[in-house]
Symmetry: C2
Subunit: 348 residues, 2 copies
């Protein structure tokens, strides 16, 4: 029997994280009688929504009547700027280290019912511009600035108001630490940035491309773990978000609108996900152009598997052994390609 | 100001996985207005429960009227024994590899309303004995045999009938691959198994011990990521589950009952978790005593944070940067120590 990737189980290597994924396409037939999620649309608007323009937050501070994006300090930050440091470890198995940082909340829009695919390209571009401002300011001081959005109650998002978070830290967290190492090693061995080589190959192969415009490509990575995981890659070498030029910013806003419209149209719901950005580390000693092994990329990690209410659980085997997926990345990309990206289901 | 681990944020190192955890104890005060889970008890019993004694499963096969444990092949396995192999990779960024294996389901008890803390020690011992049989049989052929239990709808478990799964594979999955490396390096540097050194220290320090009996210790690891994560460690050097002696098996059944009674009493609910076992890799070339760097350990990874319905979401920051926790491992251990382990809340 000949090997068919859409039928026969295999493992795939994630070179960015030095990890493997188990792909079991024959398992798509498995029935599901387990937990179903609330329809994402059912998340009730919070009557005391602290993110809306003019709201008084739990800290007692009042939001201005903002009309575009708005950034303020997280009132319950996981990272504070001034804290005493732990003593140096006295045993290799009990190592702790200092952690300093700051956490901010960034509203995308004053309207609580808005989402990225429903916003105009100009409005999304304002989000991109503000991300860059934040990266610039926080990146001067902190080694790592993590921009991320938890969207939907199923992703632990407690407020449907369109917003993301920015957590900046004095340390390089696990995920970027591993990506730093893997991309550096690839660059040393091949003389080219891993994700630049990778995108070249993908543009030739075509079967994992979801959508492309003048400056960006959205694709399902060969090693995707989540069912409809995608990666946003710039066509030009770009180490950090702060390197984006005018064309790239505009084009990013455009592709975000298109990709998110596809996502929402896939299961006719406001598609939940965690998304975020990875680029070269920052901090006082970082310089433009110092990390040719890095290529900036955005990641969308959406949990839904079969419908608006059935998600993929990353549990027992995944937590203790290795991520496992049913539909192949190529099948996911094909489904997303088919989804309308111009007309959102709410506007039909 | 002096550093207090219960007040001041810091990072902790997980030497088994070469990863860090962000601990932000000051964040325990954060209010929660997001998604709440169903009470675990509300998971309705499946009227067509395919796991019960005498049921006809979707494969058309009929379960016997079993009275203790019962093992059968998973009807929708993620791993099959005979599948064509992918061709060798032709590019370093598009690597796939063969994956062979088998997936089994193991019922703990014929009664669908039973759970480990409600079972007798003898009944739990039958579970331990069957785990060992399975490890013996599958371990002869497969490099890795992952025993795991997804408990509760919130952990993707589609059937409340007490059961676990066993997935055996021709490859060493990510998690054990990293633990193999980290434990080997520690052994080379210190001449002793990491987890044996670790347990010695913990027994002296005492503040993360949850419960101990003649052969086993349950503790919250110094580097725990989930709020009430625990590790089960044997007091004697033990590389694999198949090395357990009579005393250790009996004592394991006892401590499982005690630990799970504590878990259920913590929030007065049938405590959801994913749990599983990690020991030295198996396969045709494995020999008893060949892996002195390994120490067998069980892991409980429970999602609940504050109550029976509020879980910790491992989402945006955790997926893209690094796990983050609020209450410290020492605080979690203290709470679990306080919970009654003799009388289950359902029997009060
Ligand atoms: O086989 P089950 O219990 O239906 O499936 C559950 O556990 C598996 C192993 O952790 C996961 O891959 C699935 O996502 C989850 O729903
Ligand atoms: O700050 P939020 O949105 O309330 O919190 C959410 O995102 C955080 C960052 O991913 C997580 O640590 C929390 O578990 C989650 O509930």
């Amino acid at each position: 029997m000949a090997f068919k990737p859409t039928e026969h189980q295999h493992v795939r290597y994630n070179p960015l994280k030095d990890e493997w994924i188990l792909v079991s396409p024959h398992r798509c037939l498995r029935p599901w009688s387990g937990q179903t999620e609330q329809q994402p649309e059912d998340q009730p608007p919070d009557p005391n929504n602290p993110l809306r323009a003019g709201a008084v937050r739990s800290s007692g501070q009042k939001n201005p009547n903002y009309t575009s994006t708005y950034v303020f300090p997280n009132d319950f930050p996981a990272l504070l700027e001034r804290v005493p440091e732990p003593p140096p470890p006295d045993h290799p198995l009990f190592q702790s280290g200092p952690a300093k940082g700051t956490c901010r909340v960034m509203c995308f829009h004053p309207d609580s019912t808005m989402t990225i695919p429903l916003m105009s390209v100009e409005e999304i571009q304002a989000v991109v511009e503000e991300w860059i401002n934040q990266m610039k300011e926080l990146g001067r001081k902190y080694k790592w600035v993590q921009i991320f959005e938890n969207k939907g109650a199923v992703m632990g998002c407690s407020n449907p108001h369109p917003h993301c978070q920015i957590w900046a830290s004095s340390f390089l967290p696990n995920e970027p630490r591993v990506k730093e190492r893997c991309q550096r090693e690839y660059f040393e061995n091949h003389g080219k940035a891993m994700l630049i080589d990778y995108l070249e190959q993908e543009l030739e192969k075509k079967d994992r491309i979801v959508i492309q415009n003048s400056e960006w490509v959205a694709l399902v990575p060969y090693w995707a773990a989540w069912p409809y995981e995608t990666m946003l890659l710039p066509l030009k070498p770009t180490q950090r978000m702060t390197d984006l030029d005018k064309e790239q910013k505009r084009s990013l806003a455009e592709i975000m609108k298109l990709l998110n419209t596809k996502y929402d149209n896939l299961f006719n719901c406001s598609f939940p996900y965690s998304m975020g950005w990875h680029g070269a580390p920052t901090g006082p000693s970082a310089q433009p152009g110092d990390s040719p092994h890095w290529q900036l990329h955005g990641l969308y990690l959406p949990p839904l598997l079969r419908s608006a209410t059935v998600k993929k659980f990353m549990v027992g085997y995944e937590m203790l052994a290795q991520p496992q997926r049913d539909l192949t990345p190529e099948q996911a990309a094909a489904k997303l390609r088919e989804c309308d990206h111009l007309k959102h289901y709410k506007n039909k």
